[in-house]
Amino acid sequence: MSKKVFPDAKAALAGAIKDGMTLMAGGFGLCGIPDILIEAVRESGAKDLTFISNNAGIDGAGLGILLETRQIKKMISSYVGENKLFAQQFLAGELELEFTPQGTLAERIRAGGAGIPAFFTKTGVGTLVAEGKEERVFDGERYIMERGLFADISLIHAWKGDTEGNLVYRKTARNFNPMMASASRLTIAQVEHLVPAGEIDPDHMHTPGIFVKRIVHVTNAAKRIEQRTTRKRAA
């Protein structure tokens, strides 16, 4: 077996996670979140963590379970509206929060992984988001400078992975996972299907194995639905 494959989430985090670290967690809402790895973070007991994640989970699921245990000190997110516990802890001053527009967040992570320390964007010009940031005009349009993000550990969810660490995501569960896989010193992926290297068509891989240091096969990802919307079948 490849040296990258770990028997379970706990083993994959062992010796890696420490108090005060910055982590990234993939997912949009509860779609494509590394839920089993997040549970392992809870079990590790590591505290004062900063999490970079588009959302903060919901009460009882996703990063919500680390709010319950008060392991999170700070969130860098674009939207945290689904989580009552988040609001409580934030209003009580127990939680720091840095709001970043969703596209700027995605780009900051992509930049961090690609060795780009800063870039200019028109998103947020003339708003609260621009406060304290350098503004500059290019070709007559106003832009603000945003910084790349790089973390200690990234927690990723993928549909399929091989023993080399190459990953394939499924449908909209891709979201923030590919950029986060590239933007940490240590990227750990939970995969629903683990296959030998050589089985996935190399033109279909979304994340090359170089970015993935540890990989765990999970069979119990919850994959919960937040808003179950349907239409009736015609009779």
Binding site: G29, G81, F99, M179, I225, T230, R231
Partner: protein, 217 residues
């Protein structure tokens, strides 16, 4: 008679042109997809990483890996493609989306838009709204013309200047309310009233609008 939510959506749908790539916000904007004119083919973008968004799934066909930006279960179409959030917002920021239709709390006569936070209330976050209004070629706001306050009074939402924190500065191109349709010139030419809902008078819409506007009916 002011327009209903459905009529606002139907009016907004007239802004769709064949071949457009469109991002629809939550609420009235979502209804626009029910009124796409015949002969017009558009692809809906969902900023969490999808082009070619299909309708809700049949009961039992829900897929947790297939949701829209409102976290609702949806379906794919023959035209569908998936991509990462970075690629999705690259598409948005790079000006590749033709039209964004979204709701608002306030719009100013210079095109400023406020729709993400009310100071003193719990802040949920801007999500992708700031990226959409900054990047998409044409931004259409659909909203009730006035806000109804708890005491029964009404407050104008089309203002000389927004007092809520902005989502974007000078970004709105068109506003469709239950009372009529306004355009906003992106080169500082101000706001113009171009349509009235049937039975709504110029006096009524003027009395409910703080913003200065030209009449171009």
């Amino acid at each position: 008679m002011p327009w209903t939510r459905e009529q606002i959506a139907a009016r907004a749908a007239k802004e769709l042109k064949d071949g457009y790539y469109v991002n629809l916000g939550i609420g009235i904007p979502t209804l626009v997809s029910n009124y796409i004119p015949e002969g017009v083919s558009v692809q809906l973008q969902s900023e969490n990483g999808m082009l070619g968004m299909g309708p809700f799934p049949y009961e039992g066909d829900e897929d947790p890996d297939l949701i829209n930006a409102g976290k609702q279960t949806i379906t794919e179409l023959p035209t569908t493609s998936y991509f990462s959030s970075a690629d999705s917002f690259g598409m948005i920021r790079g000006g590749h989306i033709d039209l964004s239709i979204l709701g608002a709390m306030q719009v100013a006569q210079n095109g400023d838009l406020a729709n993400w936070m009310i100071p003193g209330k719990v802040v949920k976050g801007m999500g992708g709204a700031m990226d959409l209004v900054a990047g998409v070629k044409k931004v259409v706001v659909v909203m009730e013309h006035v806000a109804k306050n708890k005491d029964g009074s009404e407050s104008a939402k089309l203002l000389k200047a927004c007092d809520l924190p902005l989502t974007g500065a000078g970004v709105v191109d068109m506003v469709i309310t239950d009372l009529g349709v306004f355009t906003i010139d992106e080169n500082g030419g101000g706001m113009s009233l171009i349509e009235l809902a049937e039975g709504v008078t110029l006096e009524e819409i003027t009395s409910k609008t703080e913003a200065a506007f030209k009449v171009a009916l």
